[in-house]
Symmetry: C2
Subunit: 340 residues, 2 copies
């Protein structure tokens, strides 16, 4: 049984486990991943994965057979499992609980594309639809406080082990530290200003223009004022919304369109770097009272994209103090100037 352990100084939660097999080992068992065609995420390999928890199938095909357009499966090796109780407890002076949670893989296409940018816009919109479906389902579980979506793409990075476009949904019974800080930051700003900090950022950036990369009817993409990484980009819905899964269906094409445009600009300007993509969403307030309920309207869901030219130095992850060698104003200008 894996345990969730709390750092006694800074309060960070960590999953500590001895039973977790690295993904690469599991995949090696499934066959030599580097020798295609035997990718376990491709159409036709449905039997090589855990049974799907959700799929978009417009042709009415049966679960775990070909015919899907986007497919969601439990991760091959999960550090958390859904069954059981949290069993929060002290461990002498420390704090721990059982590692309850969910870790799912969202397979972005039945074809063997490595990079999200290669998918057509309607396919990207289907991935967003799959996220919405899973978020609505997972938020019914009152034990799960936080659900986080992320992916790593590009020609290096994790793709060496699994070069088929996919992303992760991780649902945890505790709110991860850096996500909680966003909630608390939004709340603090709201208490002081009675406005959403992200809404204020959007208004100011649109007026000033120098950190705008692109915009459409639904969304705006900016290089944030205090960018940690060179060419870091945030995509924000223009209309305030705490919960991504409540996005109207009419927003999905705008969402897919701005994401594809941003990824295309990054590739054209920066030579196809690997990048991380994270979707930050409001907390699960289902069955929760008090504090979390009060911040129902404070948070503003958004996507952050971080090209990873270099691994963060020891300095940066140890201190949380980043040194970025491209100002966001320069990055936004260069990204805007890309000819599409």
């Amino acid at each position: 049984m894996s345990t969730l352990r709390r750092d006694p100084i800074v309060g960070r939660w960590v999953v500590d486990t001895d039973k977790l097999e690295p993904l690469s080992t599991t995949l090696q068992k499934l066959g030599n991943i580097s020798a295609f065609p035997k990718c376990p995420l491709c159409r036709g390999s449905e039997g090589d994965t855990p049974p799907e928890v959700f799929a978009i199938r417009s042709d009415g095909s049966k679960p775990n057979t070909p015919g899907w357009e986007v497919r969601v499966i439990p991760n091959f090796t999960a550090a958390m499992r859904v069954e059981g109780n949290l069993n929060r407890r002290p461990e002498l002076m420390y704090d721990e609980m059982d590692s309850i949670g969910a870790h799912e893989l969202v397979i972005g296409s039945p074809e063997h594309f490595a990079n999200l940018v290669d998918l057509p816009e309607p396919q990207i919109a289907k991935i967003f639809r799959a996220y919405i479906n899973r978020l609505r389902d997972l938020k019914k579980d009152m034990r799960l406080r936080s659900i986080f979506i992320y992916g790593t793409y590009g020609k290096r990075a994790l793709l060496e082990s699994l070069p088929h476009t996919h992303s992760h949904i991780i649902a945890t019974p505790v709110t991860p530290k850096l996500i909680k800080e966003q909630y608390v930051g939004c709340r603090t700003y709201y208490e002081y200003k009675e406005r959403c900090v992200y809404c204020d950022i959007i208004k100011q950036e649109l007026r000033q223009g120098k950190r705008i990369v692109t915009e459409n009817d639904g969304f705006v993409a900016i290089t944030p004022f205090a960018s940690r990484f060179s060419h870091e980009i945030w995509i924000l819905p223009k209309k305030h919304s705490c919960d991504f899964e409540n996005s109207p269906e009419s927003d999905l094409p705008w969402m897919a369109s701005i994401l594809k445009e941003i990824l295309t600009r990054i590739r054209a300007l920066l030579g196809d770097p690997p990048y991380n993509l994270a979707l930050f969403n409001g907390p699960n307030r289902n069955g929760r009272e008090g504090y979390w309920l009060t911040i129902e309207y404070d948070y503003h869901w958004h996507i952050e994209i971080m090209p990873t030219f270099t691994r963060p130095e020891g300095f940066e992850w140890a201190t949380g103090f980043y040194i970025n060698d491209t100002t966001p104003e320069t990055a936004a200008r260069r990204l805007r100037e890309v000819k599409l």
Copy 2:
């Protein structure tokens, strides 16, 4: 002029600059680093570096000539400079200041060793002595609130660009976010328990034994309860001390000895992985009043060592929620069992 910018949501400070040349570019100008012998950090290359700010020279040799044992120079390309005023100011709704600070390189040996573990114990003790000297000097500057020491070693990592054992001293006019969280965590624990949290950890770990890697008269090395990384190790002084630079001279051999032992155990067990080493120290209280002064006795300086087998996934740096595939109990047992 580089600026220090504050993230408006979580309060993280970032140096954003367009003028910073990557270290690898600077070094390429100095000559082809991969074609030795023309390492700018070796004995005899003193003219290829910025003039030294400190050196240990037992032979009475002159600055910027051979004869040094440990040498401290300003970094080749610094994101911060010492001259000037902070000029704290608003930038519309945001906050920024000039990027005042110091970034120094501590060259660990005149010989071309890449890895700290290859240095003899007395040489490692001299590196600690150099840190103490620099900390005492930098803490006289009331603008500098935080001084952080770190290094990256091993056969991959940054060494590809500069494979000569060195570490960094970074002094900043703001307290980096994750360091501040340690201070606040210590303070909170102290207010509740009237004891230092690190002292409590040491006492409990020594009694229980299962996360102890090794100890000597001055220090204990543990795998922390909520380890973020596989085989993460903390080295803590047994006697409570907030400020590393106040360490008695008699502690330096113990310090060097436990560090060399830990690095030797890591290399023997794990096959010479790259690793980060960070020295977390108390804040600069010189000329400061109020809050920081009150925590004078709460913090407990220590060293953290993180072997870096994998780069942190997008998930981990975006959320601060880590998944570690080796429990600290297993890691400590394996490290203890190494035959030296």
